[in-house]
């Protein structure tokens, strides 16, 4: 039992070069801000989050347990609009890294209230964003690539556990999504027909796929690839473990470290999300998940990748110096 505890403790210990969580902070804030700008541009603030008598579809005052937002501050249009702009303001602070931890907490609590007002308008991806916001309330991410560095001093190193926790979040997201694909259409005995069916659902398809049957085998291949990718996520922790313990013996460990299956898995993931963005109306879903992909790299790997980018040395040095 002590050995198990030591392993668990070691999993969350240690530090690394700061920056990855700061990058996540900026990307997640920008993606959600883009979505909220869309809400504002389409004049949807009140229809989505306003009181029922002003045209709000959620009708918060009539709910069995009214959201605290309306129970405490009154059932008015100003409350719905105010909550929206508080959320936007806190996300701007988060993106800039200005008082990043309190900003993440405010964004989290207000966004959770808006989710209660109209649950149908709140999707799984919004929950994922809130999971990340919750984590960011515990991470001084604004002290790297953020204005908090000017206020509280810059950080060169940060704890490893938040990044590892987000790796686990991605693994859980993909693997349990795969486990839940119980419909026969996702499996060989259902003909791998799932994506063929999904792409003909008018609620999500981006364009009419009228001649989809001509490329049916291709949709079957994509369905099988999706299942392989999602079920493959279950192996990701093992791949990290083998990489972390690469000096230990064992044929399987050696083969995994030689073949590095994490790379093709990542490429498949990026391709899958870009495919979703191109063919389905799922809003910020693909971009939010892709915004989390940097956590799959150790900061040293990201720096190495950065060095390999075809940029001028002087420009790169300038960006790093900034």
């Amino acid at each position: 039992m002590r050995g198990v505890w030591r392993t668990w403790r070691a999993l969350w210990a240690g530090d690394e070069a700061a920056g990855v969580l700061s990058l996540i902070r900026v990307l997640i804030a920008v993606v959600l801000l883009a979505d909220l700008v869309e809400v504002w541009r389409l004049h949807l603030i009140i229809p989505l989050w306003g009181p029922g008598d002003a045209g709000g579809m959620g009708n918060p005052a009539q709910q069995r347990v009214p959201p605290e937002l309306y129970a405490w501050f009154g059932n008015t249009v100003a409350v719905g609009r105010g909550a929206f702009f508080v959320l936007v303001g806190s996300l701007v602070c988060l993106a800039l890294g200005l008082l990043a931890q309190p900003a993440a907490l405010v964004a989290l609590l207000v966004y959770a209230q808006l989710a209660l007002v109209l649950p149908g308008a709140d999707r799984g991806i919004d929950m994922l964003i809130r999971n990340v916001l919750l984590l960011l309330t515990f991470v001084p991410s604004g002290r790297t690539f953020g204005l908090d560095a000017l206020l509280f001093g810059p950080l060169d190193r940060s704890s490893s556990w938040p990044r590892r926790l987000l790796v686990l979040q991605l693994v859980v997201l993909y693997f349990t999504a795969g486990l839940q694909k119980a419909a026969v259409a996702w499996w060989p005995w259902g003909g791998f027909s799932a994506l063929y069916l999904v792409l003909q659902d008018p609620a999500v398809a981006r364009i009419p796929f009228e001649s989809l049957r001509q490329v049916y085998p291709f949709t079957q291949l994509l369905t099988a690839s999706t299942m392989a990718f999602e079920w493959g996520a279950g192996l990701v922790p093992l791949l990290y473990w083998y990489r972390h313990t690469r000096l230990r013996g064992g044929w399987l460990r050696a083969q995994f470290n030689r073949l590095e299956p994490l790379r093709p898995w990542l490429v498949l993931g990026v391709a899958m999300h870009l495919g979703i963005a191109a063919t389905m109306h799922l809003g910020i879903f693909p971009w939010t998940v892709l915004a989390l992909y940097p956590v799959l790299f150790h900061p040293d790997e990201l720096r190495r990748l950065w060095r390999e980018l075809p940029l001028g040395t002087a420009k790169r040095a300038r960006i790093f110096a900034d």
């Binding site: 668990w8 403790r9 969350w12 210990a13 809400v39 389409l42 949807l44 229809p47 989505l48 045209g55 579809m57 959620g58 605290e68 989290l108 609590l109 966004y111 959770a112 209230q113 109209l118 149908g120 308008a121 709140d122 999707r123 799984g124 929950m127 809130r130 999971n131 919750l134 556990w161 926790l165 686990l168 859980v172 997201l173 993909y174 349990t176 999504a177 839940q180 694909k181 119980a182 419909a183 005995w189 003909g191 027909s193 799932a194 994506l195 063929y196 069916l197 999904v198 003909q200 659902d201 008018p202 609620a203 999500v204 398809a205 009419p208 989809l212 049957r213 049916y216 809003g283 879903f285």
Partner: protein, 213 residues
Amino acid sequence: MTWDDARAALLLVVLAPNLFASLPLARSASRKNFDTAVARDEFTRLRELAGTFGWTLSHEEMADFVFAAAHAEVAFRNALLAPARPFFRITGTGQAWGLFSYPDRFPAQLIVESRPRGGAYQLRFAALDQDADLGAEKLVYRRVRGVYDSNSDKLGATWDPFVSWAAGEVFAADPEAYEVRVQFRRLRTFEPNEADSDQRVEGTRGARVRRRP
């Protein structure tokens, strides 16, 4: 106890309910839902599969079996997650990652029609119809789609407010519109080996009418 121990213990407390919440256990169970077209179709395919292994079941037997299992899962899940539920509610966090778990062979297409006083209905919006795209930008936006899509199988509390909002959008865009009708067109999607066409219309549901105030 060191800081490393305390952190590991705290993370265990946080991760345990989250990992349990992510398990693919049933979140609700309703025997009536197993008689919908989607469930009947899925059960038919499962019964065919079971039949190849010599296990023959009627629809009712399979539905009763799955319902009993789901009911037990829901009770187990709810009991274990009860202490964490207030936290999940106030933070809006959780772990539920089903994405197209059951591709819909009976998808619903949102239809918005309007007519002038004394005139006939004209199609103003139909999802994926490029000739009827009034208000398409708003109606395909993910949050709005989420509202009406959650009503496509069973009309809920948000359907009437949604219809009123959609009708208001049509009245604002078209001064001639006197009456607006919003409903779902029920489609049936076939695999290439099942029928000659990809889709066919199998009726409508949820029709609601709003008159210009």
